[in-house]
Point group: C2
Chain length 116, copies 2
């Protein structure tokens, strides 16, 4: 385990006191897909999920977080678009920061314990 071909991996999520997940990698992926594709249907397609399933997961995140996630713009030439609310953008940004900082520090701690 001490050789350089091994590495530490972590999974991070945020939970409430009952143990229910508030925000994790799954939630991040959904919000990022909407940010990238601009609509629920395109985001769902990119994740090989059905529209209803994606919609249900979004509702669940909104309920847990107690904040609206999407601003919906109906109609227009390109059909209904959805963009993230400022609060949802903050969630995405903070969680990614958490992942990056933890990945970074986990590599350092791993080296310190196993290779130091």
């Amino acid at each position: 385990m001490e050789n350089s071909n091994t590495r530490v991996r972590i999974k991070v999520w945020i939970e409430c006191e009952t143990g229910e997940t508030l925000f994790g990698e799954g939630q991040l992926k959904i919000l990022e897909a909407i940010e990238n594709y601009g609509s629920i249907s395109a985001a769902a397609k990119s994740m090989r999920m059905g529209y209803r399933s994606m919609w249900g997961r979004l509702k669940k995140i909104e309920q847990r977080m107690g904040k609206p996630l999407l601003i919906r713009q109906k109609g227009g030439v390109s059909g209904g678009q959805s963009i993230l609310t400022p609060e949802a953008k903050v969630m995405v940004h903070r969680f990614k920061q958490l992942q990056v900082r933890l990945n970074d520090v986990s590599g350092k701690i791993f080296k310190d314990i196993y290779l130091g």
Copy 2:
């Protein structure tokens, strides 16, 4: 997500370059159970696993780590006993250190990003 009832959780494991898990929480629990109960059969019972299943998992860990994990003492009044090899004790100790340090630092980073 910013209130004090939320917390960060992490899962940590060590993998090789092919992505296969070398050591994680499952492996830790097995070795700790043997350390605590002194035999494979008692450890398996404590984890509600069959002896053969426990044995198979131990063999797998030994193969992956390339080190013997157990010193077996056959017979005697109390039947066959198993104790961890020094190498296995080091594995347990290091992984627990990794968990403790990462849990500690993840709490700090979480507070810094979400509550700071």
